[in-house]
Amino acid sequence: MSVPVEDGTGFGLDGRDAARFADILARYPTRRSALMPTLWLIQDRDGHISDAAVSWTAAQLELSEAKVREVVSFYAMYRDRPQARHVLQVCHNISCHIMGAQPLMIHLEGKLGIRRGEATPDGEFALEGVECLGACGMGPCLQLGRHLYEHLTPEKADALVDGLRRGDPPRPDTDRDLEE
């Protein structure tokens, strides 16, 4: 795979990620249209999109840095700085609200000793209120990584946090591969 993988800042993709980037470029019809999947590739590896990653992406896709940065800042899921290890995103929209999202959020704030929008000092947990996650009939729910935790109760939320602290593999409700 002859992909230029590094720029002057030392940022680059290698191995499997470089191959994936080449695949994205091959499948999307223009370089600009490859922007969102490229940003996902970077964030999935690094946890966020750094300034160096923005410069690298701009150079690779022949865009100005401003055009990359405006996309990073427009979309809620792209992060431009390092995140806590576990970011708990509690849905606070209408269906989950009716089913008890607010008491759940209050409970998690107490459990973690932080407010929504904050992270624990050890960088292990962050707590966020987010808009509808598409689990309205299974609320209240929260998102962690690529999965959702549904029908949450204070007990279930405690078990999740305690398990993550112990390093247990989490068992999300949307991971149907667990059933197979």
Binding site: M36, L39, I98, C132, C136, Q143
Partner: protein
């Protein structure tokens, strides 16, 4: 009533292996695509779908076959996009299709792409459905390996490329021009219409955007024929529809019903009524953006496009939110106005400023800082937003705001007169400090 007789879209829901190619093919999957390419040809496919009366299931309800017909004849490059950005609060039906029946979505997308002459199909899945992006990508890989997609498919007769595109958290990308701009690599801000995407969309070429549920119905329609599809539903609202139901009912979740079903029957037989100790107060029929109905109004209407319009609301996405008696309607509208303010893309002033003001005014009412004239002010802000923006997000905020205010006015009036609502935020603040 046997509810299983209406399963067109939901027949593999809950099945463990339903998402796998082998199970889908064993059910007769991909036969419709083979027939479309091998026997029917694109014009006949378009005709059949048009005759079925299938309407767009994303919210607008526009007939799919008619939309396809807007692609200029002889257009060389056409794109097809599947809107799986499902972000309308209360809506989680497409998620079931992507999870349990990804091959029906892929086959329907391929047939639809064929019908409009597209060589590239993009399935745009909201970023929060990370696990579904993986699931659909796996199914797309299976379809490529089986020779349904890609170079050499159907002996070279129809070679469709399919991309699974992951969004990144923006409600506005569910609007079709916002979605197209997002795939282009831009902020997901909508474009002014006309030109409509069917004439000038992705990269300036004709582009058709259809909802997941719309395309998922297409294989069944080709297999069984438009007349069979029209046996379900009403004259003007043919077929079945997925309703995703949330709130304290006995059986929340995704239910497939024939359009035209009376709400009362759906509520009693499908949903099993309210959960223990709950009483029905209000219903949002089709996602958070449609006007709310009181329990009494809901009980008198039926679930199809025309009946709901006559009742003063819309079928929308079919995201039904059941509101129990214990809920404070002003608190709920604050939750919704926060959402629209948060999700406004910011390019049109009436929406950017209006959503923020609606949220601020409702919030100050709940804090006990409101004034009696605030109710008229809310209405004036709504008047300054509706129909005055590039896309319908402003209207999507105005419809719940106006209808909550109109149908539950005494709750707003009590706050405007100086009563203070219980403010949950102060509770957590105290807990944190102690």
């Amino acid at each position: 009533m046997n509810q299983d007789q209406y399963r067109i879209l939901s027949k593999r829901f809950g099945r463990r292996d339903g998402h796998k190619l082998a199970a889908y093919e064993a059910d007769g999957g991909y036969r419709a695509l083979k027939r479309a390419v091998g026997e029917l040809g694109a014009p006949a496919v378009r005709e059949e779908v048009k005759a079925s009366g299938l309407r767009g299931r994303g919210g607008a309800g526009f007939p799919a076959g008619v939309k396809w017909g807007f692609v200029p004849p002889g257009a060389e490059t056409v794109y097809f996009m599947v809107n799986a950005d499902e972000s309308e609060p209360g809506t989680f039906k497409d998620r079931y299709l992507l999870d349990y029946d990804p091959h029906a979505v892929i086959e329907g997308s391929a047939i639809s792409s064929f019908a409009v002459g597209a060589k590239l199909c993009v399935i745009y899945i909201r970023g929060e459905f990370g696990w579904l992006v993986d699931r659909v990508q796996k199914a797309v890989d299976e379809a490529y390996a089986a020779g349904y997609l890609g170079r050499g498919a159907f002996g070279g007769a129809y070679e469709l490329e399919m991309i699974v595109h992951k969004g990144a958290g923006a409600y506005i990308c569910g609007e079709e021009t916002g979605l197209i701009n997002s795939v282009t690599g831009l902020k997901g801000q909508p474009s002014i219409k006309p030109p409509f995407p069917a004439v000038s969309g992705f990269l300036g070429q004709p582009t058709i955007v259809n909802n997941v549920e719309t395309v998922a119905a297409v294989p069944w329609i080709l297999e069984h024929g438009a007349a069979a599809y029209r046996k379900f539903g009403t004259e003007k609202s043919p077929g079945t529809k997925l309703f995703s139901v949330s709130g304290p009912v006995r059986r929340p979740g995704v239910h497939e019903i024939p359009l035209g079903l009376p709400f009362r029957e759906f509520f009693t037989d499908w949903l099993g009524g309210m959960a223990d100790g709950e009483e029905l107060k209000a219903v949002i029929m089709g996602g958070s953006s449609v006007p709310v109905l009181t329990a009494a109004e809901a009980m008198e209407t039926a679930l199809d496009y025309e009946s709901l319009a006559a009742a003063g609301t819309m079928l929308g996405s079919g995201g039904m939110i059941i509101i129990p008696q214990r809920c404070d309607m002003v608190e709920l509208i604050q939750v919704l106005m926060h959402f629209y303010w948060d999700e406004s893309c910011g390019q049109c002033t009436p929406c950017r400023e209006g959503t923020g003001w609606l949220h601020k005014i409702v919030k100050r009412l709940r804090r006990g800082e409101g004034a009696p004239e605030d109710l008229a002010l809310l209405e004036r802000v709504c008047d300054g937003m509706a129909g005055l923006t590039i896309c319908p997000l402003a209207d999507a905020a105005v419809m719940p705001m106006r209808s909550f205010l109109q149908r539950f006015r005494p709750e707003f009036e009590a706050l405007a007169a100086g009563r203070r609502a219980t403010e949950p935020d102060s509770r957590w603040a105290r807990e944190i400090r102690s």
